[in-house]
Amino acid sequence: MNKVLARVPIDPSTMADTPAAQSASPASDPDRLRWFPKGTHITIRGLTKTFDDVVLYKDFDLDIPKGKVVSVFGPNGCGKSTLINMISGILDHDSGQILFDGKTARETRIGYVFQNYREAVFPWSRAIDNIRYPLQFLGLSKAERDDRVEELLTSFDVKIDLNRYPYELSGGQQQLVSIMRALVVDPEVLFLDEPFSALDYEMTLFLRDRLQKVLTDRDVTTLLVSHDLDEAVMLADEILLLTKKPTQVAERLQFNAPRPRTPETTLTDEFIAVKTRSLEVFQREVRR
């Protein structure tokens, strides 16, 4: 008991600024299971995942703050997608615990946007029915469901004909449908697995902008995996840098530039400082 008390900070508000200190706590300390900073949404404790004898994660601990956008960045093969797949419940983990405010992934409203939109949307349903699909599992009335869809369409201000089938839309439009499908349930947590990497630059800028706007309005906890450091920093409140496998947290950097962020944001000193630091950590980890 004494030990637990000793580890609780006197002023909890300072904790959000130093999460790296907690996630670096040794896995052998049993008390780490009970403890997490104020404002945490997702707690990961002792996560272990092995693929064919290769240890990808071992006793991995992480706290993810509520209502923030966290970009996950790290060397190739360190398991960025694997991490968000395990958190979202798409992929099983070998051992450890992942909780969302004490709930499991199945008990949590989750939005997930896949990199490969072609194999994520349902081609047999019209775009609008794709967007509506997840609402049926929320136990809402028909009127409530229609309101949700209407509200979402307004906030995205889409100009595409949603009565078309996905294969009649461009790649960017399909990904837009899949982003809207993820957001229509008003998710508690949103996962984005390289959502723009298969799109052209113009579409990427457009979708980033829309997504940012919606996320700012909603305060949804968001985990973004990106290969593009500019994008990772630009969209994030926090950049989570990972080591090579067995993967640990290398560093967590805050990025507090005001929103909405525009291409001009990338020219500010703060952006450049955070990006430079991210790159340093990344290169240090790649060489290690």
Partner: protein
Amino acid sequence: MSARGNRKAVMKRLQPVLGAAVLVVLWWLASEGRLVDPVLLPTPADSWHAFVSGLTEGTLWHDFWRTIVRTTVSFVIAIVIAVPVGVFLGSSETIYRSVEFSVDFFRSTPASALFPLFLVIFGVGEEAKIAVAAFGAALIIVFNTAYGVMNARKQRQLAARVMGAPQFRILTDVTIWESLPQTFVGMRSGISIALVIVIVAEMFIGSTDGLGQRIINAQMIFDMPEMYASIFAAGALGYGLNLLFIILERRFVHWGGK
């Protein structure tokens, strides 16, 4: 459009007919020039006449219809049984692996080898013909449906799962749709097999009507124009069924391959 472009467009439309026209001309030359015994090979005109008069005055239309009914009934029975069974088998790899050999074995067994067995079970009536055709069609549909379900790509199932869909809904909302193109492959082969078996059954399992019975009767009395006309009718039926399936597939699997 230029005259040259016009001619190209017309040629393109005529191309499929061209081969058939050449075939008819060769047939006509062979029969007119007595290259083949006229008893064995009547002229195209005689055969065509037999076909038309069979349809308008004779019983060809009735036989044609009987064959369609038998094929359709056996095919529908096959679908009703085979599709759910295929989905069930495909949804569990363990179950599928344990019955794969049996399904594959019977699928490879010529359905005609089973005629006597089905005769013993169902008697010499309609039931035996329909049962054996349904059996042959069902096996190939089971096989393809199960295969389609088993090899459905996983990402959409994961997407449905993460959206909160329960296991059964993932099956009905995603996996079955995902397997539909393969199921259609099975159904197309299934209806062809059903037609083949029905025609053979009409020939040899005491039948009083149907195209198969008509062909064998014409052969026995050496009415060659009549026989060619009936063969042509059977061919047209097979072609028509295939065409119907291509249309159905475009309608129901409009998203296939896209």
